[in-house]
């Protein structure tokens, strides 16, 4: 059965991808798996949003791609964070934390 999960709000996918790649270079499938696992199977990144997002980040120069061999020795496209990507991650992360804290504050206040 296909696993169920929450679709990500616009813009957060980029943050999650960057955060995942901060741990080391990965191919697309591993990135989606990793997000799925780490979020306790709550977040589901579909292929249809993952690859356009990866290509967009690549075009902006935040990640770069190279071809390498996967664990079971197949040709796979690996993405890794660039210096600009690192900066972008930090910026987006603090942005997100501010937003989350603010939203939480508002929700608790009422």
């Amino acid at each position: 059965m296909p696993e169920q999960g929450i679709d990500l709000p616009q813009g957060t996918l980029d943050l999650l991808i960057l955060r995942t790649l901060a741990l080391g270079s990965q191919h697309g499938w591993a990135i989606s798996e990793r997000i799925h696992q780490v979020s306790s199977k709550v977040l589901l990144v579909r292929q249809g949003s993952l690859y356009p997002a990866l290509h967009r980040l690549e075009r902006r120069g935040w990640i770069k791609a190279r071809w390498g061999a996967s664990e079971n020795n197949r040709k796979a496209k690996y993405y890794e964070l660039t210096k600009n990507g690192q900066k972008q991650l930090e910026a987006e992360r603090s942005e997100w934390e501010k937003l989350a804290a603010a939203v939480a504050q508002v929700l608790e206040a009422s």
Partner: protein, 881 residues
């Protein structure tokens, strides 16, 4: 850094498209395989694992499309596709492509050419510094209501001493001069101007070589000096810089060349070749005379003074002036106009009319191409519906259509620029009367204009059909087709609207062109009052330096006539100071002896001509009463005068003029006795005959004139022998304008003829385009309705009935267009009223002729399609789908 990276990625997407696609394919394949592997590892059988993976991952093609969008080159890819598609479909129908490109070439070409002229003549500022402060000054109401009277030397002096609005003013006088032969060059007659030394500083022009006039040069009794135009310098003196400082012989007098004007300088027009200082050329007495209106005045306004302020100041000065000297013949006021406007007075309106006409042609061309596209789009609507069903967005389909029409118009625009270049060249050789003609050429602005036109045409002719066909019924055709019902009404309606507009514009052009042609025909049919068949004319001017006394002039003229009459083939020869059709040129005030004196400030005035006794019979000017001049009148103090019928009507309304004595207002108040009355001749073709008095040519006032020679046949062959006779008498005397009377009349009406023919040619083009459009529309309607016609006929409709229905359907757009066009034509005719001569703006014959032509052509275009409709075989028609 980031931008470069971004650009690199985009370029890679564009140029290495195959590789990028391949990578995308592999990447997604890997993702799928990993997903399958995961399920298999979890214990799912392979089939089931693949199925689940596919379900989970979703549409692979959609993902690919989104990834392609991310590359940011989607637009260019589409464009490339559209261009390939457009080229393919244009190649498939070469006939359509050819007609459309030719139509657009024509529309864009003539528009660019006309725009270049209008821009060069009317819109470009004068090539002088601060041209908005350069003005032209005129007296007004000297004799009648005219508001552009030339200024007399005395009045100019009054203005110069009193007016405060101007930094400086300058006189400009017209003249011609005999440039004597030197170094083997032939003598020639050239157009010259006399000017104040202030003129060139006012204009702000610098000499290309040497210097301009100083105050010392511009004095009576100074050494003669001249400034050459660049053209004369190059042509006559081979551009030799050493000419500056040398002397040339002008009217047999020595002048020193002191400077050369720059090449771009063509003020006031390109026909002027040489300048001389006015005070040196014109006698002191003439410079102080208030009644001799012979100069043009150019001035520079003081900073901050408007044309309006200057005009009211000058008007007030001249009004005071007039009150102060009521006995002087001078303007009752004055006016100031911008120099730029003054130079184009008289040519601006015809140019705007032509511009409007070519604008109409362009619109017609666009509408026609839109119409053609409409037909094609209609034929392709199934294909379009299929594309729409397969997910082509409406925007995408419209874009494809506009791309196709832009391809066409680009071709048309490119060829149009070439056509414009050729047209411009041709127009400028024909229209030498245009100011600044020499400096007009296709420049960057003109090319930008062509480009803008091209885009405009492409968008109009592509967008209209595309919008119509994609509106709200993309899938309609698929449904329609199965039923074979009459369909596509909306598209037919749009085509009808386009066609109506086309017909209306054509009718408008035809009416304007027709009125102008009628006006030209009226001009040509004007009776000059004299014969124009087999008459050869040539102008001459005897230089004062070599012919200082009246007896010398008289003997030269007499001898010339004897020699010319002796040339074999010459049947008659005479001399007149100004030829019929040669313009107003000269008039004088006079009084009638014995008549009660006129109140101060009122004058009798008539045109003045000199003629020899044989002139009237040579030109077949009829004698009405009395006698012509006789040889005895030609002696130095001869006092015979011949006047024209209109002069009798104006000044002797109730009595016999013969035997009366007129006193002409010259210094010595000479008295002339009227001995004869002759028929009128016209000074200007488009003006009524002016009251005229003739004096004997030898009376001492006329050192210039025209020789007229009559022959039974082939008068032009006499030109060379006659010129030889004159050269034998005085090798340094140049004759000018050797033309037959026919040629002279043709020259004076050439502009009117040219404008009328041009507009009519445009109208004819519009008519052909409209006829083609109409034929196309009706053919289309017949094809569309074949089925319906078949059913009607199967149910018993008569052929005549079918024909009637189709005819009405086809002619309705024409009829509506005709109505609209006639109305618009009526409005425009009022606007061009001042260009028309002898024709009422609402001349019903022109309107009727246009209506008839358009109706006949429309009916003709409908005939074949209607005939085809009437011969539809019901059985075939019903089976054909």
């Amino acid at each position: 850094m980031n931008t470069i990276h971004d650009l690199w990625m985009r370029l890679r997407g564009l140029l290495r498209r195959e590789a990028v696609e391949q990578e995308l394919e592999e990447e997604l394949r890997f993702h799928f395989d990993e997903q399958v592997r995961k399920f298999v590892e979890e214990g799912v059988p392979l089939d089931e694992a693949q199925r689940q993976a596919r379900l989970e991952i979703g549409g692979e093609e959609q993902t690919k499309e989104e990834c392609r969008d991310v590359r940011g080159v989607r637009f260019l890819e589409n464009l490339g596709q559209d261009i390939r598609y457009g080229l393919r479909s244009l190649r498939k129908s070469p006939g359509f492509t050819l007609v459309a490109i030719l139509t657009l070439t024509l529309g864009i070409g003539v528009n660019t050419a006309l725009f270049t002229i209008v821009h060069g003549v009317l819109l470009k500022p004068l090539p002088f510094p601060q041209p908005e402060r350069l003005v032209s000054l005129w007296e007004r109401n000297v004799i009648d209501e005219g508001s552009f009277n030339p200024v007399s030397g005395g009045v100019f002096a009054d203005w110069e001493s009193q007016a405060k609005s101007f930094e400086e003013m300058a006189l400009v006088g017209e003249d011609t001069a005999n440039l004597s032969g030197d170094g083997g060059a032939l003598p020639e007659m050239i157009g010259t101007r006399q000017c104040s030394h202030t003129l060139f500083p006012i204009l702000g022009v610098q000499p290309a070589l040497g210097r301009f006039f100083s105050e010392e040069d511009d004095r009576h009794g100074a050494n003669g000096t001249v400034v050459l135009t660049y053209g004369l310098w190059k042509r006559r003196y081979a551009g030799d810089p050493a000419i500056v400082g040398k002397s040339i012989l002008l009217d047999a007098q020595k002048y020193t060349v002191i400077g050369i004007l720059p090449a771009w300088f063509d003020y006031p027009d390109a026909r002027v070749q040489l300048w001389a200082p006015v005070h040196h050329e014109v006698s002191e007495m003439d410079m102080q005379n208030r009644g001799n209106h012979r100069f043009f005045v150019t001035a520079r306004l003081k900073d901050g003074v408007t044309v309006g302020q200057a005009s009211s100041e000058l008007d007030a000065i001249q009004q005071r002036n007039h009150e102060q000297f009521p006995d002087e013949l001078m303007g009752k006021g004055a006016q100031v106009v911008l120099l730029s406007e003054n130079l184009v007075r008289g040519v601006a309106q015809p140019l705007y009319v032509l511009m409007g006409a070519v604008g109409c042609v362009l619109l017609i061309a666009c509408l026609n191409v839109a119409n053609l596209f409409m037909a094609r789009v209609t034929a392709r609507r199934k294909e379009i519906a299929v594309r729409a069903a397969l997910g082509g967005s409406r925007w995408r389909i419209i874009l494809a259509q506009v791309t196709e029409s832009l391809l066409l118009t680009m071709a048309g625009g490119g060829l149009g620029a070439l056509l414009a270049w050729a047209t411009l060249h041709w127009l400028l050789t024909l229209r030498t009367d245009l100011p600044h003609a020499g400096s007009i050429h296709i420049d960057r602005l003109a090319l930008a204009f062509t480009f803008a036109l091209t885009i405009f045409c492409g968008v109009v002719s592509g967008l209209l059909p595309a919008l119509a066909v994609t509106r709200s019924e993309l899938l309609g055709p698929l449904k329609e087709e199965s039923r074979g019902a009459s369909c596509g009404k909306r598209r037919a309606r749009l085509r009808k609207v386009l066609l109506t507009a086309e017909v209306a514009l054509t009718v408008l052009l035809l009416i304007v062109g027709g009125l102008m042609l009628k006006s030209f025909a009226e001009l040509r049919s004007m009776n000059m009052g004299c014969t124009t068949d087999n008459v050869l004319t040539m102008g001459f001017s005897l230089p004062d330096a070599r012919y200082p006394t009246n007896p010398q002039i008289a003997s030269f003229l007499e001898q010339m006539l004897v020699r010319v009459r002796a040339v074999p083939g010459v049947s008659r020869a005479g001399i007149v100071s100004v030829l019929p059709g040669g313009g107003h040129f000269m008039d004088n005030t006079f009084s009638i002896e014995g008549a009660p004196p006129l109140p101060a400030g009122q004058f009798l005035n008539a045109v003045l001509r000199g003629a020899d006794p044989a002139y009237f019979t040579t030109m077949s000017i009829p004698l009405k009463r009395g006698r012509f001049f006789e040889d005895s009148d030609q002696r130095e103090n001869g006092n015979a005068m011949v006047i024209t019928e209109s002069m009798v009507r104006k000044f002797f309304p109730d009595g016999d003029a013969i035997g009366k004595t007129l006193v002409i207002d010259w210094e010595n108040k000479p008295r002339f006795e009227i001995v004869g009355i002759v028929g009128d001749v016209l000074s200007n073709l488009n003006q009524p005959a002016e009251p005229t008095m003739y004096l004997p040519i030898n009376s001492g006032r006329f050192s210039y004139g025209s020789l007229v020679v009559r022959s039974d046949h082939g008068v032009t062959t006499l030109a060379v022998p006659i010129e030889k006779e004159i050269a034998a008498m005085d090798p340094n005397l140049a004759v000018s304008d050797v033309l037959t009377m026919e040629q002279r009349v043709g020259k004076s009406t050439a502009t009117a003829e040219f404008d009328a023919l041009l507009v009519l040619v445009f109208a004819a083009l519009g008519l052909i385009l409209a006829a083609v459009g109409l034929y196309g529309l009706l053919s289309y309607l017949v094809t569309e309705r074949t089925n319906e016609i078949g059913i009607r006929m199967a149910l018993g409709a008569q052929r005549s009935e079918v024909m009637r229905i189709m005819f009405v359907d086809g002619l309705r757009p024409s009829a509506v267009g005709l109505g609209l066009g006639l109305f618009a034509g009526g409005v425009c005719a009022q606007l061009i009223r001042s260009l028309l001569f002898g024709v009422q703006p609402l001349e019903w014959r022109v309107f009727a002729a246009v209506a008839l032509v358009v109706f006949v052509i429309s009916a003709g275009a409908c005939t074949y399609p209607v005939w085809r409709a009437a011969h539809v075989d019901p059985m075939t028609a019903l089976r054909c789908e």
